[in-house]
């Protein structure tokens, strides 16, 4: 089925979320909708799905104008949507979720669960999904839940399938699996709209690319376009994806880790005998596939996790047994990997979040009382310096875009007096413009003599920033290589192999 959007316009008050957007998606085509957070991609798709009514413009399916009053009409017309946040009922089984809303019934309205189960099995088999119709949704990993969403759409004979930022919640492997699924679907004739802001995914899977900025279509691109070209279209100005940085001038070791061993709450050793050092004025990257002990390593370093064995030194002082407060006070800046869970109190204001880890004394607290004037001045300056886009410092942090929320965390840590920065996934879920900014600030911190440890599952990020790279696999360090090590070398090491020439 061919999908065509003509001149879709949608405003929210003064904000024009969509401004005369035209889009055509052919059957069997994967059409990428690329744009920064807040560019209006999701609004457009909600209009398509009948969740929002457009102010003007029309939707055509196979050249017939459609009038959707709600998602039910859209579904009936053959449009399926896989939302970023799944619309599944956790305590229902897969089959129950799939049939929800158009339950097949037998005599006297009895639910025909067997048919629904059969339908799940049939679609599963057709596309090689490995989904048990009787599993409870809440017990499934996120990647499989997403497949349930896809099955749900397909079971209603969706001819046009919309994926709204589907990879935001997935691990790299799950992402690769999803890409394979999307290709399979398009080969079977489904038209696919793939919304994302991640360049790598676009280039891997898209047949055609439409770039949206500030509610307008700003251009079309082919998948052969370079990352720089795509990023420039998205952001509207030239973007350096490669961070300019001078060769490092490493000084004395500031962070020294010896034989660090950590177990998770089940007692499994997840960080095993890890030793390394980070010197003043250098960035050490920790590469590895998600879940190889990086998270636990950083949490152990800042005192959030109990160590089984090992020793951590900061500027020569033993901080192995120190609690978080003491570690932070000793001059460690910490950017946690999940800003929503660990980095921010979303209901707090931007200003309050900027002092979150400094609520124990001067300058923001005197004699137990908050110094609101000092905080306001500091927050104004910091918002300015770190280009945090917020209506005011009194805005709730949770209302900012993802990139700006991350900038709040980064600004908080970099505006303290620190000697060591531990940055875990510093740009996860952040738009291209903010990534560039955050990378520059991290390099600036290095140049000011801070020892930086960057943990990332994005190999591009590790390569862009690191002076030296530690590769972790199953809780161990596979090797430590120079920052210019090739992608192939790193890839092999991430799979646990030790290529010749890599120092262990």
């Amino acid at each position: 089925m061919k999908l065509e959007l003509r001149g879709i316009t949608k405003t929210f008050g003064a904000l024009v979320a969509n401004d005369h957007i035209d889009l055509t998606v052919e059957p069997g085509e994967i059409h990428c909708l690329l744009g920064e957070n807040g560019a209006g991609k999701s609004t457009l798709m909600n209009v398509l799905y009948g969740l929002l009514q457009a102010d003007s413009g029309e939707i055509l399916l196979d050249d017939v104008v459609q009038h959707f009053k709600g998602p039910r009409d859209a579904m009936k017309a053959g449009i399926g949507m896989v939302h970023q946040h799944f619309m599944l009922i956790p305590v229902f089984t897969v089959a129950e979720n799939v049939m929800l809303g158009h339950e097949p019934t037998k005599f006297a309205g009895a639910l025909d669960l067997a048919t629904a189960r059969e339908r799940v099995r049939e679609i599963s088999a057709r596309f090689g999904f490995d989904v048990d119709p009787d599993a409870l949704v809440e017990d499934l990993p996120v990647g499989v839940q997403q497949r349930v969403e896809i099955i749900k759409a397909l079971s209603r004979d969706a001819q046009v399938l919309v994926f709204d930022e589907p990879t935001a919640v997935l691990t790299p492997q799950e992402t690769d699996e999803l890409m394979a699924i999307m290709r399979q679907l398009s080969e079977s004739g489904t038209a696919i709209v793939f919304i994302t802001h991640k360049l790598r995914e676009v280039r891997e899977v898209a047949d055609r690319i439409t770039v949206i900025r500030l509610g307008k279509v700003v251009g079309e691109a082919s998948p052969t376009a370079s990352n720089e070209e795509l990023a420039t279209l998205m952001v509207g100005r030239d973007v350096d994806l490669v961070v300019d940085r001078e060769p490092a001038q490493p000084g004395a070791p500031r962070l020294v880790v010896e034989g660090l061993t950590v177990a998770d709450h089940m007692g499994n050793v997840v960080v095993n005998d890890v030793s390394f050092e980070v010197r003043a004025g250098e960035i050490v990257g920790v590469a590895g596939v998600q879940g190889n002990g990086q998270t636990e390593l950083t949490e152990a370093l800042v005192g959030l996790r109990h160590l089984l064995r090992g020793r951590v030194e900061l500027d020569g002082d033993d901080v192995t047994k120190d609690k978080v407060r003491a570690v932070l006070d000793a001059g460690v800046g910490y950017i946690p990997e999940d800003r929503s869970a660990d980095g921010l109190v979303k209901q707090f204001t931007v200003a309050e979040n900027l002092m979150l880890d400094r609520s124990n004394g001067a300058p923001f607290v005197r004699f137990g009382a908050l110094q609101r004037g000092v905080l306001a001045r500091f927050a104004e300056e910091t918002v300015e310096e770190f280009d945090i886009r917020t209506p005011s410092i009194a805005e709730q942090a949770g209302r900012l875009s993802g990139g700006n929320q991350q900038k709040v965390v980064v600004a908080r840590e970099l505006s303290r007096e620190i000697g060591v920065l531990i940055a875990s996934q510093p740009t996860r879920g952040v738009d291209v413009g903010s990534i560039e900014f955050i990378h520059k600030r991290i390099v600036a911190a290095r140049d000011a003599g801070v020892a930086v440890l960057v943990v990332s599952t994005e190999l591009e990020e590790i390569q862009a920033l690191s002076d030296r790279i530690i590769v972790m696999y199953r809780g161990r360090i596979v090797g430590i290589v120079p920052g210019d090590a090739s992608r192939e070398t790193l890839g092999l090491m991430m799979a646990g192999e030790t290529p010749a020439g890599a120092a262990a």
Partner: protein
């Protein structure tokens, strides 16, 4: 399986340490959000809940009035009678309520006419501090249901100083207040420490401590040489010493005592602690996102214990206000008068904010003062007041709970298309 390899590559070993978050975690977060919304939501919802509850209360008043039932018996021949009876029933009840809770215009002069308002404030006095105590724990993400036990301990230990210690006039009530607050704090600290160091849920522990506290105090009141009045076999204490009793606030003809000023002071102090102190900053951070608070170096265990202690101290103070202000002739094990539980409603209605709790406490004081008057003057069942109080909680708590239960989005959640500054 060996010859067919069409299935997508199964993720291998390395993931096991950290699984993708399952729906269970998302679900837990959803309930946490519901609880946050119930305890911390905006003031408008509180106002609407009160109005709705009073509307339902009006229907109940009319429906249970025999005169209305009588008129409804011949509704189809003279419908006007029924509506007239309904109007009389409801307006009569609310007039009586006003006379009992605010101003009695049947009295000759202002001084005696205003007495109901002072009664309302007297009833409100312990409700306000107790509500502050519960609200404080809400802000720190805790739920103190042990108000009864903490009040009883505060009343008993404070009251013991009140009748037994030979102290001079101004010093005596001060010592009683301090000791009573310490006793309440100690009782709540048990739950706080257990929560911080063993993870025992404070709801369960505080409920159980209510019983332990009740029977402990009952035993002390029935034991000669402890709290029992000499020469009596009843489980009741002797009256408070003249030197300890709270003096009347605006004159001997009113029951309103100095304890009310203490309640107002407590509102200001708790407000300052929550909104202006670093301790309150830590409370709020832990209450809203304990993981982020911990990551930011805030000691969540310490916050849990301190919040429970402060909450218990406030409830202990409510207990002291009961023995030194409301019932000065000696107390029994029922001295808490259900205030420890009413405090939960007051804190919810006040949206866990000190000024809101002050207003909610006064409203509930009015319910108590006016409820008796409605019953006396119009024969309205006093239970209807209880129903109205319960309905307030229902209207406050039900919408977020139902949203969490059925996965419904928050109203207006779709409107989050907001990019700042452009």
């Amino acid at each position: 399986m060996s010859d067919v390899q069409t299935a997508p590559p199964v993720p291998e070993g390395p993931q096991t340490p950290e699984e993708s978050p399952t729906a269970k975690e998302l679900q837990r977060e959803r309930w946490r959000r519901a609880i946050r919304e119930i305890t911390l939501g905006g003031p408008l919802i509180g106002l609407i809940s009160v109005l709705l509850a009073m509307l339902v209360g009006s229907i109940l008043i009319a429906a249970t009035d025999p005169k209305v039932a009588e008129a409804a018996g011949y509704f189809f021949s003279r419908p006007g009678d029924t509506f007239g009876a309904i109007w009389e029933s409801i307006s009569g009840a609310y007039t009586a309520f006003f006379r009992g809770a605010v101003y009695n215009f049947n009295r000759p002069d202002f001084a005696s006419g205003i007495k109901p308002l002072t009664e309302t404030l007297t009833f409100a006095t312990p409700l306000i501090v107790a509500g502050l105590g519960v609200g404080l724990t809400f802000r720190a993400g805790l739920f103190n249901i042990g108000g009864r036990g903490q009040m009883l301990l505060g009343a008993a230990i404070g009251g013991w100083i009140g009748f037994a210690a030979p102290l001079p006039i101004v010093l005596h009530p001060i010592v009683v207040v301090i000791v009573g607050m310490a006793a309440g704090a100690f009782w709540a600290a048990i739950a706080g420490v257990l929560k911080a160091y063993t993870g025992a849920h404070e709801v369960i522990v505080t409920i159980m401590l209510n019983y332990v506290g009740y029977y402990l105090v009952f035993w002390m009141l029935s034991t000669k040489g402890l709290l029992q009045a000499p020469g009596s076999n009843n489980p009741k204490s002797p009256p408070m010493a003249e030197t300890a009793v709270f003096p009347p606030l605006i004159g001997d003809q009113y029951n309103l005592h100095v304890g009310f000023l203490i309640s107002i002071a407590a509102v200001v102090v708790v407000w300052w602690i929550l909104e202006r102190s670093s301790l309150g900053f830590a409370f709020r951070a832990v209450g809203l996102n304990p993981r982020a608070a911990q990551t930011a170096g805030i000691n969540t265990k310490r916050v849990t214990i301190i919040a429970m202690c402060m909450s218990g101290a406030l409830l202990g103070l409510a207990g002291v206000q009961q023995v030194l202000g409301t019932v000065t002739t000696g107390f029994s094990a029922g001295i808490d008068a259900g205030i420890g539980f009413d405090a939960i409603t007051v804190a919810l209605l006040g949206r866990s904010r000190p000024w809101g709790i002050l207003a909610a406490g006064i409203l509930f004081g009015a319910f108590k003062a006016g409820g008796y008057s409605m019953q006396a003057a119009e024969g309205v069942q006093i239970d209807i007041v209880t129903v109205v109080q319960a309905l307030i909680v229902l209207f406050l708590a039900a919408p977020p709970l139902i949203r969490a239960m059925f996965h419904l989005p928050e109203p207006g959640a779709k409107r989050k298309v907001k990019e700042a500054k452009a």
